[in-house]
């Protein structure tokens, strides 16, 4: 019995070594791990940019699309090397606290409110504040990201600006806890309103070949601006992160070439992101 136990322990150790080595192998030297929002992923922008980045700089970009809140947490845990998110105030605090560094604004679009074409609550054309007030007074079904993402933080901020308490426990306020496209789909299923970034909405539109079940009802308000920035995870806190590769990435995204590519990215002929790196 003892010999069998000993061999089992030996094999387990061997396995861990193998896993460790192959694990290291996968985190090969020219692989850059990024945590990002669902909007940059869902739209297909990253699928579009990553091969060019690899061809130009020789770095392979691997990204986990999970929403800004979780992305910032991953950076804090040193589990990724670079972040691409869209929650400017949270990002600034993040840098101040020393979790992130080399923050750079890269592109922007805007948020829009979408809903069923019949617009049962009648928010079309209203300002953001009025629309929110209408929604809550009519208890119109509204799908929220509910996941601490950049979009979600923006939404919370707008409720606050409107002076309305978040209807956290109300049945008509649907907190999906999921990514942007998923949330839009849920809203469509429930005939609900929701707030999304324009880029993801255009992707949604193209999925439906131009006639999606939900349409834009409120847009253009100055409070709906959506700024995307990249940050490197602070190497002083996280000794393992590939800081140089992260800087390469951020630099490349701000380069003229990449900025032009971003602006040229279109679906159904519409532009999704406007480059604005300085």
């Amino acid at each position: 019995m003892k010999t069998v136990l000993r061999s089992v322990v030996a094999i387990v150790c061997v396995l861990f070594c193998i896993v460790g080595f192959t694990g290291h192998g996968v985190a090969a030297d020219n692989v850059l791990k990024m945590a990002t929002t669902t909007s940059t992923d869902n739209t297909g922008l990253l699928d579009y940019l990553a091969p060019v980045f690899q061809a130009d700089i020789g770095i392979e970009l691997q990204w986990v699309a999970i929403g800004t809140g979780k992305a910032l947490a991953l950076g804090k845990n040193c589990d990724v090397d670079v972040l691409l998110v869209h929650a400017p105030s949270a990002e600034k605090v993040y840098v101040e606290k020393g979790y992130g560094t080399d923050r750079r604004e890269l592109m922007f679009n805007d948020f829009v409110f979408i809903g069923p074409p019949s617009d049962p609550a009648g928010i079309k054309g209203q300002t953001v504040i009025d629309a929110l007030a209408t929604i809550i007074s009519k208890k119109a079904p509204f799908a929220s990201r509910g996941d601490n993402s950049g979009t979600h933080k923006k939404e919370i901020g707008l409720w606050k600006t409107a002076g309305i308490a978040i209807p956290d426990k109300d049945a008509w306020y649907i907190q999906t806890g999921q990514g942007m496209l998923n949330t839009i789909n849920i809203a469509a299923e429930r005939d609900a309103y929701t707030m999304t970034d324009r880029g993801t909405f255009i992707k949604y539109e193209s999925n439906w070949k131009g006639t999606p079940p939900l349409v834009i009802l409120v847009e253009g308000d100055s409070s709906l601006r959506n700024q995307y920035s990249a940050m490197a995870v602070n190497p002083e806190r996280c000794s393992n992160v590939k800081y140089d590769l992260a800087k390469n990435f951020i630099g490349w995204m701000a380069s003229d070439k990449a900025q032009k590519l971003i602006g040229d990215f279109r679906l159904m002929g519409k532009q999704l992101f406007t480059p604005n790196a300085k």
Partner: protein, 229 residues
Amino acid sequence: MDYLAGGFLKAVYLLISGDPETYTAVFTTLKVSSLSITASMVIGIPLGFLLGYYEFPGKRQVRAIVDTLLALPTVVVGLFVYAFISRRGPCGELALLFTIPGIAAAQTILVTPIIVSLTATAIESLDRRLKTTLLTLGARGKQIIITNLVEARYAVLVAAITGYGRAISEVGISMMIGGNIKWHTRTITTAIALETGKGEFAVGMALGIVLLSIALAVNGMLIFLRRRS
């Protein structure tokens, strides 16, 4: 109806045309589950043998613990392993998060109790005369262990196939540890779970067909083997 039919047709097309996204997910699943079933068997079969063959104080308690671990929810395993292999965790140095070996390691934790428990049962179910027969024919030590496992081979194979089925169809671990990274850690199950919500219904369906076929094949083998033993 159109939605389903259209999705199904597109799914078949994806499979026939060898769509790279679809097939990468399939191969990733196969890679991960092969790693995990191998590790589980290497660890689990000897432990299962020990548990089944020998009497020792506390044997019943150990067996009860193993049988309870059979019901481990995948998300719970995913959660605990995540805490361990995240950079901030104790095994952070191994850089396993968001990698195939990482998913495989966590799946091994899930599958090993299955192998241990079913192997122990297989050994316990062997005829009591086997032990005497082997001793009187002069078999000792390692020969006894190997012969026991060979005699129980169908039941051990059933254990392996059952474990494999569990590994292939789990989502919680693959999602939390793998991160569903396209081309790298996107498995059949994470793709179905996460892509379908984004509207990629045809891809989800295509992968669903593949997974269903694998599950049917796995169960078919189980039925066949049960009859043989």
